[in-house]
């Protein structure tokens, strides 16, 4: 009986320790949101969080405005903004008309801040050179139509690369993710058949493969399993030196993923934008000879009508700062900055925010 008691006590102690850690975390975060020192609160996407947190700390130094951001995921950001519990939201995929209509504070403006890209990473024992793929080949692999590495549909794109006759293991994200959204958005744009079979979304019904949670788990699974292929964010792949495939773009050129190729995609897409765009646009499969085709904006979401003029002004000032000085930080953290002419056009959008009198 004594041993059981000891075990129970031990379990209890562990549970309590966890509990108190959680409590202190929530306590500190609520304390910081409610205390007078924080001026703005935001919530949303995890993908741009490393960059945003640098922005917030620099901005606090320069302008004295403190911003508290909770990286709880795009879905949570949209929900919290719709409920009006945060001053701004952040999302990796644009809000749908439906979601916009449900927002309690009226019309919402989408402000693109930086760009992200999705890269294909793989583990092919003995592959001598980087792989080149087309949208069609990627779609065929991720829908299970191509099952061997030495399939003619892959080898014809990679003359001079020796590919083994082994099975392909597809690894995809299991959690809802902007990365999956961008990737499936690209496939449904580049390959019409994809749209009618799998479609696009933050989580889709994958016909084949294993699901792993987060970029790190996808990358880990690919690294561990010979013959595996998966998709991860550009920033993650660069920081971890993963092998990445060059992707053939709309112009027919194979583009190795890089920060500048992603910015080029935004510039290519910007040329065809109407003057009154709301920037809820997808730039996958963008035109332009140097455009990397699997790229997307990430957005900060704000209400057009700011009920609190003081806070509203702080939001507007911060956004203008982010699109001017903030953009310069992006590349160092492997985020692609907006093309400069686009940044100035987005600032005109910010001017449309109305402050209560």
């Amino acid at each position: 009986m004594r041993a059981l008691k000891a075990a129970a006590l031990m379990l209890l102690a562990v549970a309590c320790a966890k509990e108190s850690a959680n409590n202190s975390q929530t306590a500190s975060s609520t304390a910081s949101t409610t205390s007078g020192s924080v001026d703005l609160t935001g919530a949303g996407a995890t993908f741009p969080y490393p960059l945003y947190s640098r922005w917030f700390s620099e901005y606090a130094r320069e302008a004295g405005v403190k911003i508290n951001y909770q990286s709880i995921g795009s879905g949570g950001g949209i929900r919290q903004l719709s409920e009006g519990t945060v001053d701004f939201g952040a999302s990796d995929s644009p809000m749908s008309d439906d979601e916009m209509a449900k927002a309690k504070g009226g019309p919402i403006i989408h402000i693109p801040t930086v760009l992200g890209a999705v890269v294909i990473t793989y583990n092919i024992p003995g592959a001598s050179a980087p792989l080149t793929l087309t949208g069609k080949a990627i779609a065929d692999i991720f829908s299970g139509k191509i099952t061997k590495w030495n399939d003619a549909r892959i080898t014809s794109l990679n003359p001079g690369v020796t590919l083994p006759a082994t099975d392909i293991l597809v690894v995809h994200r299991s959690d809802g993710s902007g990365t999956t959204y961008i990737f499936t958005d690209y496939l449904s744009r580049a390959v019409p058949a994809w749209n009618s079979t799998v479609g696009k979304g933050k989580e889709v019904k994958w016909p084949v493969g294993l699901g792993a949670k987060g970029n790190e788990a996808v990358a880990g699974q690919v690294k561990q399993t010979p013959g595996a292929i998966g998709y991860v964010e550009l920033a993650y792949a660069k920081q971890n030196n993963l092998p990445t495939a060059a992707i053939q773009n709309k112009a027919g050129k194979a583009i190795v993923p890089s920060v500048s190729a992603v910015t080029a995609a935004a510039a290519g897409a910007a040329k065809t934008l109407p003057a009154n765009t709301d920037y809820r646009i997808s730039i996958v499969d963008a035109p332009g000879a140097d455009s990397y085709p699997i790229s997307s904006f990430t957005w900060i979401l704000v209400y057009q009508n700011q009920g609190d003029a003081v806070k509203g002004k702080k939001v507007v000032d911060f956004l203008n700062w982010a699109l001017t000085k903030g953009e310069a930080d992006a590349a160092a953290l492997d985020y692609a900055p907006l093309p400069s002419e686009m940044a100035s056009k987005v600032k005109e959008k910010i001017a449309a925010v109305r402050l209560a009198q």
């Binding site: 009986m1 041993a3 059981l4 000891a6 075990a7 031990m10 379990l11 562990v14 966890k18 709880i72 995921g73 795009s74 879905g75 949570g76 949209i78 929900r79 979601e99 099975d167 293991l169 299991s174 959690d175 809802g176 993710s177 902007g178 479609g199 696009k200 979304g201 933050k202 989580e203 889709v204 019904k205 994958w206 493969g209 294993l210 699901g211 792993a212 949670k213 788990a217 880990g220 699974q221 561990q224 399993t225």
Partner: protein, 324 residues
């Protein structure tokens, strides 16, 4: 328990003045009553909240949430049958592996172990319960799945020719129902073995001596005198382990391969209800999707309730049989 309290109270009455004791009694009684009522109230509150949030999906999709195997978020189909299947299968696999092992450990510790070994081994087994599940998940990714992929799975499939059965076929990737079942077995083991060990140790000495006096061997003594006496407690321990396995989220999510398909092969990836919710909740914006996830949560809640009810019933019926 009540007799101990009664004895304490008796002593208190003798040493303290009666009126103070009776006020103390009343306060004590009220405080413990409140404590006792908070727990069921909390369970009811959780159930009400989950079912209320799940209601839109249940009203719209009905039973197809648990019977359909088409989970397609962009298409608006929410059928969690593969997750339900995965939850049950991974837990059953875990119990099949953990139960004999845990009972073996318990019997060793209560019957065979030298006294000096009993404490440290028991402590180490109990320690398994204190390891956070994410650590199990990491260990699974870096140690268990490569081991499965390179050695265990090919051995089972090709060397033992179990590939002829539908349960051990297909390519060996590592993350699989088998990996999830194994990690759950390790996680459920300390619960089963701690409870079993304590009930075995609680078997009266006279029970053992009587069996030995009838010329039973040690094994016969354990089989015929000790285990039947402790049976209800052991079953309770197994059910506790099953409860642990059904609800486990993090470690399973890291090892099961998160693929919502029903496959007889344990080598194939699967999904569980808990990992489905954990995977999709944070990015779910669509109302029906959120509600469907809540409905999956409600179904998991119900399953856990049913398992506990069955456990109670088993323990009750076993102890009733013995009383006869």
């Amino acid at each position: 328990m009540t007799s101990i309290t009664a004895r304490w109270l008796e002593r208190d009455r003798r040493t303290l003045r009666v009126n103070i004791a009776s006020v103390g009694d009343r306060v004590y009684g009220i405080v413990t009553t409140i404590c006792a009522l908070v727990i069921p109230a909390l369970v009811v509150a959780i159930a009400v909240a989950i079912f209320a949030a799940a209601w839109p999906a249940i009203a719209r999709l009905g039973l197809s949430i648990v019977t359909s195997s088409d989970w397609d978020v962009p298409g608006g189909h929410f059928g969690a049958a593969p997750a339900l299947y995965g939850t049950l299968v991974s837990s059953v696999v875990a119990l099949i592996i953990a139960t004999p092992l845990a009972i073996g450990v318990a019997i060793f510790l209560s019957e065979f172990s030298p006294t000096w070994l009993r404490q440290p081994v028991g402590f180490l087994v109990d320690l398994l319960a204190a390891i956070p599940s994410v650590v199990y998940g990491l260990w699974g990714i870096f140690v268990l799945t490569p081991l499965l992929r390179e050695h265990v799975m090919p051995f089972l499939r090709d060397t033992l020719h179990l590939g002829a059965t539908p349960f051990f076929t297909g390519p060996a990737y590592g993350p699989s129902m088998l990996a999830a079942g194994l990690i759950l077995a390790i996680m459920a083991l300390p619960y089963i073995s701690a409870v079993s060990r304590e009930v075995l140790l609680a078997v009266p000495r006279s029970q053992r001596e009587a069996a030995l006096a009838l010329a039973a061997t040690r094994w016969e003594m354990i089989r015929d005198a000790v285990i039947p006496y402790a049976r209800s407690g052991i079953i309770g321990g197994i059910m506790l382990g099953l409860g642990r396995a059904l609800g486990e989220t993090m470690a399973v999510m890291m090892l099961i391969g998160n693929s919502p398909k029903i496959s007889a092969s344990l080598f194939a990836p699967g999904y569980t209800m808990a990992s489905l919710i954990a995977n999709e909740f944070s990015e779910a914006t669509n109302d029906l999707h959120l509600s469907a996830l809540m409905a999956v949560g409600a179904a998991l809640f119900l399953i856990t309730l049913i398992v506990n009810a069955v456990a109670r019933w088993l323990v009750w019926s076993v102890s009733r049989d013995r009383a006869k």
